[in-house]
Symmetry: C2
Subunit: 421 residues, 2 copies
């Protein structure tokens, strides 16, 4: 069965995938389990920071006005460590020995450092300089006011965000539940990873690669095994899979060949095909279909094509569901280290290594530039975007690359605006 | 107790930490569990890739020499799907229908695409062009020869590496065991995350941040609670902790104040102090000690200082033990978006956001530039390195920044060569 396929532009395809706009349900996890998850609520300062006027240095808490006519001798009426509170009443010409981080005693408004006083005896210090009100004090609320939003909903939780969650007492953290993404391989040429090679066969590498990509994107990956070359059985397996997953990825079996039965499966499932051919290389025979709120991605069986198809289409969908407002790969300009002289009527995506040289990002091809190549995927750091060309691209030319595995992303896809005609 | 402290340069300090050079023991994990771990062996191609001459397109496998006098009519003697093997013998002027990915039949050496033949009937095709030997065939071993090293020991396992491991049948993967890194907080001002704020107190945020940094660096993080302000009890707690961890981080309690008892604890433990003061801001009172093969890091209680201390000293140690030959943060030049006009006799490390603008990396300060600030750590992406200055730094000036959370690193620390006098 050969389905009629009309190629659409990459940007249009991404738009169709993202139109849905659905968010995942919310769950609470413990603070330690929240790393790399996506916040389901704005994190609000539950107290001002600092929560009290805090000494920035070890020294003496004083009343700045006492130093107006320096030198002045102050009486030391107590001492206060971090975490303690001085309950006494500090009168004119009195001081309190204070440690970094401790709360300023009532009546004091500045700290003088140890090296700036002369300790006359245990109860007497001499200050020989004019001290400004507020000196070496981190004033209550100076960093953040109570009620201010400190981290926005949809932010991925980094170690720094964990520090903030702890500061504001979030021992339980509201996060978006991970979308469950199942991966099904197709193709009778596929062996399991632990099987010995046999004539005409290759091992199933795409499934494992895709499962790792799902986890990296923030999803929960479920390995669903292999579809058999049988229409009825395949429909059954996929129907069953769809009871367990939010997103179902198949890899392989969508080539325009005699054995392609995925269009028939989509039809029997009642899924609406958003597109089944793309104006891009590799990955032109990528299919995306929807069934209610569930997505079916039919990625190519070629390792590069399925890798790239995931990053362009599945990753942003997962991140959108996780509330991210920067779900797409970050694009930056880079200088080509190689020639790509062949004309091409489609946009090409090339697997690149990227290095900085004199402040410029340099993109060099990573291994064999063939969609069937597998070893080249190991070191890939970026995808160069080469728009249709009659003249090819030259070494030294600047093109845009999409950075993989960057924690940062961008709001719109690279093709979201004027980058595609 | 105030210990005598002599500040050493950052580069020298990193060198002292890294001198050890120890590697973790090796364990095997399943392929799916190996993501983000570090390879403990070179991964070698257990078969050539492709393992057989493979058709790159759907079409007909032919003998190229038959097309020398085109047009030619060829007899179709069979068909072959991916994963099947054609066992017949292909004679002159014969062809076999073939699918993408299938093994070429013996005797055939080229593929013609469907659109390039005229199908006369089910058994006859006409080829009207000269076909080159090897056309549209991915020759056995063309991508990689059997026995070649495809991924080096010490490489962090990305989705692409997982694809390669699957290709070569590694269903169990040798990885370096994660170093166990314990985190102990100190400071009587610290509350647990789930406690309500109290006068003079702050919540323990550094411990949770550091635990997340440990996991991000590749270690196994263990939360060990809080040290009490009691020398004997602290020694006991740390002795017990050292029976369980490879690396022990304390945060706080190392300020040059009356309450600093960590030097005495190190002495009682018999640990050798490598350094206890650094010529850097923030984090000047960072202490590192060794006890046999175990490391004790005494990081500052200031959130920024402990964050930075981890990234500069603990992260590379963890990655060195995991076999990485690029354990240090990657340094790249960036343009300052702000002025830093204050002179400083020490190297400053400033928390930055980084954005690309016209191909240049721009570093702008992230939140309050104070080591006591906590909210600014959430969005930090890079650390700007500002060497000692009498004139300050100006907006528009290019400086070097260390990229955080980049998968990539570098072999030597930023200060490893000529970057420090």
């Amino acid at each position: 069965m050969i389905a009629k396929r009309t190629a659409i532009l990459i940007g249009k395809a991404i738009e169709k995938v993202m139109r849905d706009g659905k968010r995942q349900p919310v769950e609470e996890v413990s603070l330690l389990q929240s790393a790399n998850r996506f916040l389901a609520e704005d994190i609000v300062a539950t107290n001002p920071v600092p929560a009290f006027d805090r000494a920035l240095y070890d020294g003496y808490a004083i009343r700045a006005e006492d130093t107006a006519n320096e030198p002045v001798t102050l009486q030391v009426i107590g001492e206060i460590g971090a975490g303690s509170v001085f309950t006494g009443d500090v009168q004119p010409n009195q001081a309190v020995r204070i440690m970094t981080g401790a709360e300023m005693p009532v009546g004091c408004n500045a700290v003088v450092m140890l090296e700036d006083v002369i300790e006359r005896d245990a109860q007497k210090i001499e200050v020989r300089q004019l001290v400004q009100c507020g000196a070496r004090v981190f004033l209550k609320g100076a960093e953040i006011q109570q009620g201010a939003c400190v981290v926005a909903k949809g932010t991925q939780i980094t170690p720094g965000v964990i520090g903030i969650l702890a500061t504001f007492g979030y021992h339980r953290v509201p996060v978006f539940m991970k979308p469950v993404v199942g991966v099904l391989a197709t193709g009778s040429e596929l062996l399991d990873v632990d099987e010995p090679l046999a004539p005409g066969k290759i091992r199933n590498s795409n499934s494992y690669m895709l499962l790792a990509q799902v986890e990296q994107a923030g999803g929960e990956a479920v390995y669903l095994g292999k579809l058999e070359d049988d229409l009825e059985k395949s429909v059954e397996v996929m129907q069953h899979a769809l009871t367990k997953v939010d997103v179902l990825i198949t890899t392989g079996g969508v080539s325009v060949g005699d054995y392609d039965y995925l269009p028939a499966i989509y039809a029997q499932l009642g899924a609406e095909v958003l597109f089944n051919k793309l104006a891009m290389r590799p990955g032109s025979v990528t299919t995306v279909a929807v069934l209610g709120e569930q997505y079916l991605f039919g990625l190519s069986g070629n390792p590069s094509a399925s890798f790239i198809g995931f990053e362009l289409f599945v990753r942003p969908l997962i991140r959108q569901r996780l509330g991210s407002d920067i779900p797409h790969l970050l694009s930056v300009p880079a200088v080509l280290a190689d020639d790509y002289s062949a004309p091409n009527q489609f946009t090409q995506l090339i697997r690149m290594k990227s290095t900085f040289c004199n402040g410029q990002l340099i993109a060099s091809v990573n291994g064999l530039n063939m969609s069937g190549a597998i070893t080249a995927i190991a070191g890939v750091e970026a995808l160069a975007v080469l728009p249709p060309t009659t003249t090819g691209y030259k070494r030294g030319q600047t093109v845009d690359v999409l950075l993989l595995a960057a924690q940062k992303g961008q709001a719109h896809s690279y093709w979201g605006d004027e980058n595609e005609s």
